[in-house]
């Protein structure tokens, strides 16, 4: 299953929201772990997503040292990002609820 662009942004935001500051590789691993091979992700797109989120001001970036002693850029969710995450989660749940209901009614003859 391919990942939609907007969905990826939400996933990255959610990951940072729940896990605290992470670097790009860490985010990719976390998404891999959560999705359990259901989603096929071109991991490069995570970086595009991170750039987009930075432009919106929802996450911030700073340099740090990773667990294996490499210099790495860590991304953290901002206050605006948390607000956005709440709204988006809300939206997502509402829409997925609507779609789920739609699909259920469609299945019934």
């Amino acid at each position: 299953m391919d990942v939609l662009q907007g969905t990826l942004d939400l996933m990255v935001l959610q990951t940072l929201g729940s896990m605290g500051p992470l670097h790009g590789y860490g985010i990719a691993r976390r998404i891999e772990q959560i999705s359990q091979d259901v989603l096929k992700l071109n991991e490069g797109t995570v970086y595009a997503s991170l750039t987009r989120l930075q432009h919106e001001g929802w996450i911030s970036a700073s340099w740090g040292i990773s667990e294996n002693n490499r210099k790495a850029k860590f991304y953290a969710i901002t206050r605006a990002g948390r607000r956005q995450l709440a709204t988006e989660t809300d939206n997502w749940q509402r829409i997925s609820g609507v779609i789920a209901r739609l699909l259920r009614t469609a299945e019934q003859p």
């Binding site: 071109n42 991991e43 490069g44 595009a48 850029k73």
Partner: protein, 891 residues
Amino acid sequence: MWATLITWCSRLGFALRRRRLDEETRYEIDTHVDLLVDRYIRSGLTPEEAYVRARRQFGSVTAVRQEISEMNGIQFVDDLRQDLRVAVRALRSAPLVSAIAIVSFTVGIGANSAVFSIVNAVLLKPLPYPDPDRLVLLGYTFSGAAVPLVSETKLNVWKDQAVAWQDIAALRARRVAITLGDQAEQVHALQTNTDFFALFGARAALGRVFTAVEDRPGGDRVVLLSDGFWKRRFGSDPHIIGRSLRIDGTTATIVGVLDGNVDTTIFNVVPDVWIPLQLDPNSTDHPPSLTAAARLRPDATMALAQARARVAGREFHRRFPQASGPQDTFTIVPFQDALVQGIRPSLLVLVGAVVFVLLISCVNVANLMLIRGSVRRQEIAIRTAIGATRRQIVRQLATESLLQAFIGGSLGLAFGEVGVRMLLALNPADLPRIGPDAAAVTIDWRVALFTFLISALAGLVCGVWPAMRLATGDQRLHVGSDGRSGATTRERSLRGLLVVSQMALALVLLVGATLLIRTFVSLKAADRGYDGDRVLTLRAALVDGRFTTTSSVERLVRTTVERVAAIPGVIGAAATRTLPLESDWRTSVSIVDRPLNEPSIVSYRIISPEYFDVLHVPIVQGRALIDGDGPGAPPVAVINQAMARRYWPDGDALNSRLIAFPGLVPDDEPARDIVGIVGNVRDGMPLDQDERPTVYVSLAQLRDRESASQAPAGLAWIIRTRSESAALVRSIEREIGQAGGNSPIADVRSMNQLAARAIAPTAFSMSVLTVFGACALLLAVTGMYGVSAYAVQQRTYEIAVRLAIGAPSHQMRNMVLLEGLKLASCGVALGIPAAIALAGTLSAFLFGVVPHDVPTFAMASLVLSATAFAAVWLPATRASRIDPAKILRGA
């Protein structure tokens, strides 16, 4: 709104840090891929397999980096940078064509920014006074003519009726003799009232300005120094206040030094000293001798002020029924309009002409772009083939022409500025508001913005249109072409059309320039009615109070004439109150026992009897004024032929009597016997087609009152000499100065210099239009050459074939020549009706030549055709020298 702004700022932040961000992304991605590789190696894959796996899992590295980089940049800026890079490369690859385009733009835009900088200084810049929009000039109409001056009586009425205006400033420029120690000097003085300083925001840098008490009749004798005079004569002495100097023989106390920024150039005077006007509220002085301005009250509209002015006019007529007609009224004009009224038409002509220059230069560049474009068809086709959209191609080509336009625009701004300064240094043309040495004509933000805008406009017009044409159509046709066979017939005729329009535009300018040149020549050659060669003029002040009676002035004039005439090398000398070609007085006249139907405004000159003799003005009938026409003798006048013809068509002028200033002066002017008729002297506005009726009266036959009121103006002297040696001039100056009791001398000029000054505005328009005409010719020739040279280049193969099968080479040459001439004659054919239509607008500026002067049109057409012929000669010769063997074998 705020959010958008903040987003944009942060976007800008990313764009600015873009290079570093790109580096960081690269590091992050590399690390990421490395970590993935490590992970797969650890899970047992070979390094190669691990690498392949990691790359697959990551996706395209380049694509991601590109995407992020683009996201961080700003699309518009990136495109611009890219387009500019390509544009610079394109310009460099065709240096000659680019240079011609840039030169065309430089000429077109430079001429425009130069003219605009004059228009800006004269018409657009706000006046340097507080609240300039509410300043108005006071005046009146007299027998239908608008007079921008007021008399003392009128000024008092203006003051009494001041409901719509306040701060009524009145001023009068005059010459005064300043005596400091034993040194006398004639300087410019401005007599002003106290309101002047408030109205024009003039402040004293040292001391104070006049008080209201000092401005009353009989007030203390005080004087303000100008900044320049203070520096020059007193070496910026800070303790000057309270000292005194002698002005026209009376002692006055220095109360202040005015700020150097006080701008009086609009009154055509740069005063050295300022003295109080001390206007008498009960004055009965009617001659209009004052310039008056006021500020509209904040709540008053222009319409209201004008209505109140009419009321004031009626009040004046009630108080002085003799001094104005029932139709005469008071007028109010916005100050800025009043200043530029006279000059606006001639500036508009320049603006019109310069727009033509711009058009021609734009056509030139558009043509070059088309020519270059057809050579670049192949490049464009390939770009299209590898995915460039039509929009991108157009944008690219437009960037190129914009780049050229901006380079040309900047050069033009610089050259235009230098050019306009040189022109104005040679000839300030009596332009108002340009300040001394045209200092006010500068590049300010308006000029810069204007240049930027027309550069952008010209660049776009010249770029977009040809680019649209080039980017249209099936590009596949051109991929394989060598760019030489590309021109279609349609394109060729389009280029021809452009050249034709250039020629037509150039013809219009040439006609305009030639008309003004002919005007200038006729003005110089015009019979002015006097002989101005080796005639010297100068002004002498009447220093002390001795010369306030007619008999004292008469004695002074007689002794001075004798002393000057005794100088070896002097033929004769005459005195006058007003110099010909410099100024004159106007008056109405009435004829005794014969009421006139038409308004009768005539020139009025007060002279000594030698005047006609010295200037070689012929006596046509009767006699000249003589020494015998003195204070006791019957009052007489001499008139000129124009006056005689106008008022005595039956030729019986000599038996009539006239009265000058009827009703305008308290004790009525005497009726004067007309004793002689002299030839007409063109001594007024040089462009006047008709000679002005003139009355001459003797200095010795004025009433004492008049002599007294004219004393401050001093006397002007006209001296005919045998040579123009400097030593002679010096001894004349000395003699006149001594005769007047050390009277200071100023404005020493030859009669011919006065004449040159009088035609300076025409000379200015002429030189500007001539420069424009030359530019137009040059540009049109370049265009013609370009088209023809390109045509030959395109047809090399065809010509080679023709030559190979036996066509004589001169036939090829003539073919090219003929084509060029065809274009030129089409241009002339189109240009002539356009020029006829536009020449009419010049008629007010012409003298001695009609707007539709046939020789002028013939001459301009001939010059244009000849130049066009010269322009195609080179390509034509090249066509005849083509070596068919070389070309055909090469192909």
